[in-house]
């Protein structure tokens, strides 16, 4: 086949696809809207997962282990312990917090409500040590191993590192991921079926044309390609529409939620879709549409002699 002929055939296929989408406009719009709804749900779930993951990462990066000293611990014992901790290879930074500084920080945190502390006869807060680990050791297992290496004997009174909270959050994240995965698979199958059935209806509405195409010498590819293109176009348009919906909702919601999210997730930790991800979602829509139409027209060779 010479290039001019190939271009002419491709042009015919594209024109035929667009014409067919126009002819079946209602059906095409319903299908594209359904795909858009499915992709909106999938993209929203993806955003939730991305933000949970980013939040976990931010939290893990900021994770510190706090060792509380006994109230009667001597300065000498605390210094000795601090030097032992500093000598460990996992440790990036150690900061001693005196009882006075701890009280100041507490008052700062209770800004406006620090009156509740006035009745206290003495400072009840112990001195503590804030330990920050190097990045490679900021995993749940590594933190646990590090804490296990600290003997809970005087001057150490208690160790806190949010283990239970971290474990619960990881469990919640895993559950959320599994739920999203199952729901995502279900929605993908559902979308695939919608596209495949739409293309089947379009094949049915064009059965006379297909018969004549075969009769005048159209090859299998020439007959099927316009349908593949229709599926891919509907998938891509549906996914792109979903992105616009998610973007619109995000713009509206973020006006009110930005402060709240920054407070809970930490400033700058909120994640939204970037261009490569948006392109990947649109491509996924096109691929899903292509797959649906591919299997929908697979039988054409057998049905049309």
């Amino acid at each position: 086949m010479n290039p001019a002929s190939a271009i002419a055939r491709l042009r015919y296929c594209i024109a035929s696809s667009l014409q067919n989408l126009r002819r079946n406009l209602t059906l095409s719009l319903i299908t594209t809207s359904t795909i858009a709804v499915m992709f909106t749900i999938c993209t929203s779930m993806l955003l939730v997962l991305l933000n949970l993951s980013a939040f976990m990462q931010t939290w893990a990066d900021q994770l510190q282990i706090i060792v509380y000293f006994e109230m009667q611990a001597s300065a000498k014992d605390m210094q000795r312990f601090e030097k032992e901790i500093e000598a460990r290879p996992e440790v990036e930074q150690v900061r001693h917090v005196s009882p006075e500084e701890a009280m100041r920080l507490l008052k700062g945190a209770l800004e406006g409500q620090d009156g509740i502390l006035y009745g206290l006869p003495d400072n009840p807060l112990p001195a503590s040590l804030e330990i920050r680990l190097h990045k490679p050791y900021l995993t749940n297992d590594a933190v646990e191993a590090f804490v296990a290496g600290i003997t809970r004997t005087p001057p150490v009174a208690d160790i806190e590192y949010g283990q239970r909270w971290l474990e619960r959050f990881i469990a919640f994240f895993e559950l959320a991921r599994l739920t999203c995965l199952l729901l995502g698979v279900f929605l993908i199958i559902f979308t695939y079926c919608i596209i495949a059935n739409t293309i089947r209806l379009m094949v049915y509405s064009r059965r006379d044309e297909i018969e004549i195409m075969k009769l005048v010498g159209a090859g299998s590819l020439m007959v099927k390609f316009p349908f593949w293109l229709e599926g891919a176009l509907q998938g891509a348009c549906g996914a792109a529409l979903a992105l616009l919906i998610v973007l619109g909702v995000e713009k509206l919601a973020m006006n009110n939620l930005a402060t709240l999210l920054n407070f809970y997730l930490g400033s700058g930790s909120y994640v939204f879709l970037d261009w490569p991800m948006a392109a990947a979602i649109t491509a996924a829509g096109a691929l899903l549409g292509l797959a649906g139409s591919f299997f929908a027209v697979n039988h054409l060779d057998a049905h049309y002699s």
Partner: protein, 219 residues
């Protein structure tokens, strides 16, 4: 041009549509296949443009055994064969011009060439003034002319027509036969299946009679 040797076609391995049919058609012949309904005329034509495969026997078209042709080679074969049916098989939503152009579009012909060829063909069959009309707005004879124009726009070597005048009155049928005769005069081999023996005797170079799927009596 065409050599059919002991071709048989059975449906469901039981009902014979054709049994041991053999004949030869030379290049440039105007051949009629006649016989009553159910004699196997349509089946024979369908075997000739590979819509079906014979259960046994061989069909040689221009030296190619098309009874064993690969499915991927069928489209190229069909581009050298024009086919006309009793029910015209036109696309109702496309104009006369678009219906004829359709046969060229799917072969990857450039738009300028399509325009030129379709124009010439429509002029030749006498339908140029109706090029923008939709098929339902045309008479039966005109619709059959559009179908014929579509089948010859590619300059096929062979034109197969299955009861092409079955839906037309005698005068229109005569006009269509004259058109076939003119196409034949340009060098195209024509095979027409019809139950109208009188018409066959009036126009045919050769008549092949089918009876109960079996007998062949070339004239």
């Amino acid at each position: 041009m065409i050599h059919i040797h002991q071709a048989s076609k059975y449906y469901n391995n039981a009902n014979p549509a054709l049994v041991d049919v053999s004949f030869k058609i030379n290049k440039g012949d105007f051949v009629f296949i006649t016989g009553p309904s159910g004699a196997g005329k349509t089946t024979l034509l369908r075997l000739m443009f590979c819509a079906e495969r014979p259960s046994s026997g061989e069909i040689i078209l221009n030296g190619v055994n098309i009874s064993r042709i690969k499915p991927s080679a069928i489209p190229a074969l069909r581009r050298s064969i024009g086919v006309v049916f009793q029910d015209f098989k036109l696309l109702a939503s496309r104009t006369v011009f678009e219906n004829v152009a359709f046969a060229l579009e799917i072969t990857g012909t450039g738009s300028k060439t399509i325009k030129k060829k379709v124009w010439q063909t429509l002029k030749w069959v006498g339908l140029l003034q109706k090029k923008d009309a939709l098929p339902p707005c045309l008479s039966g004879g005109e619709q059959q002319r559009v179908a014929i124009a579509r089948s010859i726009v590619n300059n096929p070597l062979l034109l197969l027509a299955d009861e092409p005048t079955g839906n037309l009155d005698p005068q229109l049928a005569l006009d269509i036969m004259k058109l076939f005769k003119a196409i034949n005069a340009r060098g195209t081999t024509i095979v027409v299946a019809t139950h109208n023996r009188g018409m066959a005797e009036q126009f045919a170079d050769k008549i092949i009679s089918l009876s109960r799927s079996h007998s062949i009596e070339p004239r």
